[in-house]
């Protein structure tokens, strides 16, 4: 009896933990335009979630609503069970790293980091040590006395992170913090920040429109489109089982082929008539499709040659381009009657292949995705 009770308590704690940040049915309108519509998202404690989506889909708006810099027109935002909707921004104890860092140019690095502690009336004796600590976390101790204008982009970024973390926020929000950095530095900073936040066990929401960044850094990715979350899942789930055509198009490379699905789906497999011939696709969780559909395939699933057996789809298309990327080579095919070209990735270009020849391509039926046409 007792055992069952503790079990239940533990389960309740675990589920509360899963809903550390809870955004429920949040709506935001600007004038007549609805930017967010009944949006829900729950973030677990210590989780790192990316908001990924095209420009203008409402990522920054969602972040500002959570931060309290804007008021929602409906819905509820809670952290750790306590409702924040009526709490003003400066009392929420949420850290924010802004896209352009928003460092204070009239203060030194040290003073920037100390700003939050002073605003929260931390005892003077404590401030110095905590500032040094925060600067050490981002390896910026040597720059403590510098003016902000005398720092590089990457260094400014680090100071912005230190300034947000020093107050021990209950949640960290990052709005495209790497968008001003060059690619090389960006990749280093991504890994560095991910390690830092993991070590500190800070719950973080990270906005980006760079899918690679989201895939590399996140525990889970929320793919947004037009003010809604289309899919919330691990990077693997989002990449290999996109919940919608938009997610498929937005995350990773893919080939799309339009066609008409047969009304009768045979034992969980849809048969789609396309300009390239008949293509089979598995249907998940008993859903059926009929009428106009779009098929999707990832480039790394497609191989050159004849299909070994009936578990594969096979088409034939003309090779139009060979694009060399170093570690891989992309082959572009233009199938007859289709407007989307087909991308295939190979490690090495097989001998005897040249532009203009028609080749056979195949991929597993299980790797074919099917969506209703928009």
């Amino acid at each position: 009896m007792n055992l069952v009770a503790t079990e239940a308590a533990r389960e309740r704690a675990a589920s509360a933990n899963k809903r550390y940040l809870d955004v429920a049915a949040v709506t935001k309108r600007f004038g007549t335009a609805t930017v967010l519509q009944d949006l829900n998202i729950s973030v677990a404690r210590s989780e790192f979630i990316s908001l990924l989506g095209p420009s203008g889909c409402g990522k920054t708006t969602l972040l500002r609503l959570i931060a309290g810099l804007m008021k929602p027109d409906g819905g509820r935002i809670a952290i750790n069970g306590s409702d924040l909707t009526q709490v003003p921004a400066h009392k929420r104890n949420i850290g924010v790293v802004f896209q352009n860092y928003a460092l204070f140019p009239h203060l030194t690095v040290e003073q920037n980091v100390a700003f939050g502690l002073e605003a929260q009336r931390t005892p003077k004796a404590e401030i110095g040590a905590r500032v040094q600590n925060a600067l050490a976390l981002v390896r910026m101790q040597a720059f403590a006395e510098r003016r902000i204008s005398a720092l590089s982009g990457g260094q400014q970024q680090r100071v912005a992170v230190a300034r947000a973390l020093v107050v021990k926020p209950s949640l960290l929000l990052l709005d495209e913090p790497f968008s001003a950095l060059d690619r090389k530095l960006r990749e280093t900073m991504q890994i560095e920040l991910r390690h830092l936040l993991r070590d500190l066990e800070i719950t973080s929401i990270f906005v980006t429109h760079d899918q690679d960044e989201a895939l590399v850094m996140s525990d889970r990715i929320a793919v947004m489109n037009e003010g809604r979350i289309e899919q919330l899942g691990t990077p693997d789930e989002v990449y290999s089982a996109p919940a919608s055509l938009h997610v498929l198009e937005f995350v990773g490379q893919s080939t799309r082929i339009g066609g008409t699905a047969d009304a009768s789906a045979l034992n969980g497999t849809a048969s789609v008539e396309t300009p390239l011939g008949k293509i089979l696709a598995p249907l998940h969780d008993g859903s059926g499709v009929s009428g106009k559909v779009v098929l999707g395939v990832r480039p790394e699933c497609i191989a050159l040659g004849e299909r070994p057996d009936a578990n594969f789809n096979e088409i034939s298309a003309e090779l139009t381009d060979i694009v060399f990327f170093g570690s891989k080579t992309a082959l572009h095919f233009q199938p007859p009657g289709a407007d989307d070209r087909i991308q295939v990735e190979v490690a090495r270009v097989p001998s005897g292949i040249a532009q203009g020849v028609a080749l056979k391509l195949y991929w597993p039926i299980s790797e074919t995705m099917v969506y209703p046409a928009p």
Binding site: A67, L69, P88, A89, H90, K91, R92, N93, I94, G95, V96, F98, Q99, N100, A102, L103, F104, P105, H106, F115, G116, A119, Q120, R163, A164, V167
Partner: protein, 264 residues
């Protein structure tokens, strides 16, 4: 050839500009130390008697005090109102903000005489008979463009996400403005305030319509003085004003840096 020519031209222009700017100043200062009772250059002898005579000259000190008061109070009012107004315009808190901003800056483009007559008639219309109050109101309008222009320029370069950052770090909105916005726009605002103060202090065309016998600003009193008893007292007063301006510039330089003030 061309570069050398333009280089030479540059120097010629600079020398001429300096000559035109400094000659009157040098002459006025020199004349203020003369012993002779007439306005003559070069000055004869050396004395400070015209400086002493400022005290005895009819109403000169009183009008200087009045001008300083009007300039200071009107600049202060413009500073507070103008800064708040500029924030509202830049943050698009009011519809048609750009129109408002242009309107607030427009007195700079209207001839002073027109404004002066307009103020006189407006004051009559609303039954405002007190010269001091009328002067103050007119000078708020007069100083506003200087404040608006410099504050708007400073604000347009100010990144408001800094205010958001300060709020997220625990400052309420007003406190965030005070701790982050004010220090960052201060150099621009100070230069605007300095220009506004000077513009008010030496305004003639508007004030001439609004003064009365007991309430005369310094420029008007100086001109009266020049007509009634044209002795070097006026030169001594001017020399003191020049000194005050130089001191003000030095203080501003110490406080915010002249370079930062003039770049805005």
């Amino acid at each position: 050839m061309i570069p050398r020519l333009s280089f030479a031209l540059c120097w010629v222009m600079l020398s001429l500009a300096l000559l035109f700017l400094f000659t009157p100043i040098v002459i006025v200062v020199a004349v203020s130390f003369t012993e002779s009772a007439v306005f003559s250059f070069p000055p004869q002898g050396f004395s400070l008697k015209w400086y002493y005579s400022i005290r005895n000259a009819d109403g000169l000190l009183a009008s200087a005090w009045l001008s300083a008061q009007v300039a200071f109070i009107s600049t202060l009012i413009s500073l507070v109102l103008g800064t708040l107004c500029a924030i509202a315009v830049v943050r698009r808190m009011v519809p048609g903000g750009d129109v408002i901003a242009t309107f607030m800056a427009s007195p700079l483009m209207i001839p002073g005489l027109v404004l002066g007559i307009a103020f006189l008639q407006a004051a009559r219309l609303v039954g405002l008979n007190d010269a001091y109050t009328t002067l103050l109101v007119a000078h708020v309008v007069l100083t506003m463009p200087f404040i608006m222009r410099t504050v708007l320029a400073s604000l347009s370069m100010f990144d408001f996400s800094m205010v958001d950052a300060a709020r997220m770090l625990g400052c309420s909105y007003p406190r965030a403005l005070w701790r982050v916005l004010v220090p960052n726009i201060l150099p621009g605002v100070m230069s605007g305030a300095l220009f506004a103060f000077i513009a008010s202090f030496d305004n003639y065309p508007i004030s001439i319509f609004l003064v009365d016998v007991h309430t005369k600003t310094l420029p008007i009193q100086l001109l009266n003085q020049l007509e009634m008893s044209p002795d070097p007292t006026v030169a001594a007063t001017s020399a003191l004003l020049i000194l005050a301006t130089v001191l003000a510039l030095i203080v501003c330089d110490r406080l915010v840096g002249l370079k930062r003030m003039t770049t805005i």
